[in-house]
Symmetry: C2
Subunit: 346 residues, 2 copies
Amino acid sequence: SRNIRLAVIPGDGIGIEVVAEGLKVLEAVGTKIEQTHYDLGAARYHRTGETLPDSVLEELRGYDAILLGAIGDPSVPPGILERDLLLRLRFEFDHYVNLRPVKLFPGVATPLADTPAEDIDMIVVREGTEGLYAGTGGTMRRGTPHEIATQESLNTAYGVERVVRYAFEKAKTRPRKKLTLVHKTNVLTYAGDLWQRTVNRLAEEYPEVTTDYCHIDAASMFFVTQPERFDVVVTDNLFGDIITDLGAAIAGGIGLAASGNINPERTTPSMFEPVHGSAPDIAGQGKADPTATILSVAMLLDHLGLHEQAAKVEQAVADDIVERLAGWAGRTTQEIGDDITARVSG
Amino acid sequence: SRNIRLAVIPGDGIGIEVVAEGLKVLEAVGTKIEQTHYDLGAARYHRTGETLPDSVLEELRGYDAILLGAIGDPSVPPGILERDLLLRLRFEFDHYVNLRPVKLFPGVATPLADTPAEDIDMIVVREGTEGLYAGTGGTMRRGTPHEIATQESLNTAYGVERVVRYAFEKAKTRPRKKLTLVHKTNVLTYAGDLWQRTVNRLAEEYPEVTTDYCHIDAASMFFVTQPERFDVVVTDNLFGDIITDLGAAIAGGIGLAASGNINPERTTPSMFEPVHGSAPDIAGQGKADPTATILSVAMLLDHLGLHEQAAKVEQAVADDIVERLAGWAGRTTQEIGDDITARVSG
Ligand SMILES: CC(C)[C@H](C(=O)O)[C@@H](O)C(=O)O
Ligand SMILES: CC(C)[C@H](C(=O)O)[C@@H](O)C(=O)O
């Protein structure tokens, strides 16, 4: 089979360290990859003022997939790198599915008391291209006592239907076959109505899938008190952002949370990244857990049809985690990467 | 002192049961109250089509305070009672502070493992009149593949400043004197910029208060993993809705979470209500915990300047909770109300 053409964007802070370990595992699992590294993020922004040059965007379009570390640094005003680099990639490549498993690996400590590992096993299908992330809105009379600032959530039938359909397809393949829409239909009545009608309509095409609905406020509560309620969750961009961080927290922490920004039609490269940020406070110290990136590599392999290799990486992580019980605290970023690499090579 | 003039809106489902217990405690604590009950909610809507007649709204304006149970029933389409009754009261009476303590009472089981009670002790100051709750937005080409649905978040300098100032004043009175803004400034750049600038500006007037910032996604994670990070939290209407349900979850459940919809200038009656909803599935069965309503009554007393009585109710709840350790599961709504009533009468 031909080589995988991979674009690598280590980004900022710990992004650089964790991506190095992810690549180590990717190579060890026996894939033929050609990687090209792209220097994008805070450093480039400070050096050249560039976030994502159009020429780079067009080049990236030619890859099979993108592996991204983390974007963001306190030295850059909020929104610039997020909007013009990270979100721009998601939007330009039409990553309308932001896939985020929330799964407690056996042996991982959850902050929830008395919660067996099997109770936390869901997949959040977060919409990735619409809603409040559209960035529309504005400011009038800025800095005066009469200032108003607006933000707009844009939702289209086209955008909602395709992600809801993806979620139904996902639910169909899982043992519990349950899909929960999370929204706030009682307050966001226009958008909520579109989401709820779309779920109701598609439900008729998927009689084997049980559907449920939960307001975002109640869902946040249930993530903590009854996570076993959820199997596949479908939700909008902002609610998905919030509950997947909460999901990471209950499933053992942000150090383990993987994600894929996916274009299911494969007309563009999908992009895989840990849910965590660049964590500038611990960058360069070998303290970051590369596991989230390594699990994102597994999602990447899966997306590219390399299911066997994906399973191998996931198993290696699961085994590594069981062993953590003995000696987790001591290992550096690199040591964890090495240990998991050894397992996939074996 | 003159009698307290109280408007009571039991509302729907368990609202009716829990309000009855709240009133029992209010009477027993030695306040002279004149109550008038208002029949508003799903039953009235079905009977007459009315949610909140203008004449009733004007009458309510004349009271010292409002005690509300819960509003909502699955027989009414989402949004109608919420927008035209509950949110209308909050908006018409300019309840710009939605005050929601998140406090773990000693003896209450939190779902978080290894979290001592003193680690969960914060107050969320949720903005109550703006943001995405404004209800602006619309739908075009509804029901077609070309539908678009929008929601708008409206934020004003006037609206943000007054609630942030209230939060700083609150923080000033607390031992830790820490105020955390929760928002999503890196994506909601217009609104986030207004909130962040307002906090920065007012911080200069409150040098004794430490300020901090946390994205809503990270905050949701920290509520579970490091709740001790938070003392006073100020946030917008929607983020406040989400994190206060999450707060209720970590502080022992929705059965204990109280709230006040407050107009600090007292030009209108403030409204006190449990954070929980009408829970139609358990309504009428004596299963609902009235403690959230009873704690809301304590907030009501406090707001009216009856600090001693407020403290007495809070202490009675704290004592009742300690005793729960022995025999909580058995008690009905009414028995819990009776037990707390006995304590405040003693
Ligand atoms: C960095 C930020 C723009 C991003 C988001 O809000 O989507 C992050 O929180 C995430 O979840 O990937
Ligand atoms: C019922 C609903 C409109 C309300 C809200 O979203 O504010 C409720 O969730 C709350 O928190 O009081």
